[in-house]
Subunit: 160 residues, 2 copies
């Protein structure tokens, strides 16, 4: 999984802290996270294309969450950035070699593929159970107070 997933989820959590009418330019989001602006911009565009983020034009323009943070799951962010292809890709090798019979005779999916499909579903279900709002509340609980205060001051300047 690319670093962009970590960046994308963090960006959503940061945007969850903005007032309802505010937006944050891509360059500011990159600055806050200390990541390369050009590369982050690609991920923010993908999140906007997937309907996770929305763009606001004008002098106070930039990105904001497209929906309330409690309605955006970590899975949505992951799938916006990495697609929804499972990690395991079945190439049906059971149909090759000396035991092969015509494809139409294999009426059931391969049991090996089914085991990976179940694992993939469990992974996605777990990521769908956590929302951006959960993570935002977690930040307030977990991050050291001085870091929260510095972040809030910076954000008031950046989003003004």
């Amino acid at each position: 999984m690319s670093d962009g997933v970590e960046w994308g989820v963090h960006a959503c959590v940061l945007l969850a802290s903005l007032p309802a009418d505010a937006a944050l330019p891509a360059a500011k989001i990159a600055e806050y996270h200390g990541v390369p602006a050009a590369y982050l911009a690609k991920h923010l565009q993908a999140l906007a294309a997937a309907g996770v983020l929305a763009t606001a034009k004008g002098a106070r323009g930039g990105y904001r969450l497209a929906r309330p943070p409690a309605e955006i799951t970590v899975l949505e962010v992951v799938e916006a950035l990495e697609g929804d292809e499972p990690a395991f890709h079945c190439t049906e090798i059971r149909r090759r070699g000396p035991a092969a019979t015509p494809a139409r005779e294999y009426t059931k999916a391969c049991g090996i593929n089914r085991a990976f499909v179940r694992a993939d579903a469990a992974w996605r279900a777990e990521l769908a159970a956590t929302t951006v709002a959960d993570l935002f509340i977690g930040v307030l609980e977990d991050v050291p107070r001085p870091a929260l205060e510095k972040g809030a001051r910076w954000l008031r300047e950046a989003a003004r």
Copy 2:
């Protein structure tokens, strides 16, 4: 995930069908699955190094399962071939940028990382719940009878 995982799991299921004292050379395992022998050999060696497969030397030598198939999980095969690193790698970007405070002040793991750790654990738990024996029984139930008969005939010749 590399195609080698699919091959490795299939190879284990094939070896589960051998009589207790039999082994199958790497080249025969590759032939059965219609996959490149040199590339498969690498994966079989990794499975042997991890204690999933055992090697038998001599004229009737080759690979066999190191343990009863009910004691080998799909997760073991995956981890032997791909390692046990989670797909999500936290780079602690929360400690960068204008809100950063010294690392020692972050006493709790990042909530974003924790969400991915939970998802990774769910994925592995699902793969640990399926054994090579389960898959072998599944093959007997799912694969068309002509393919099973052709496979059994081929295997009798190959493992003699």
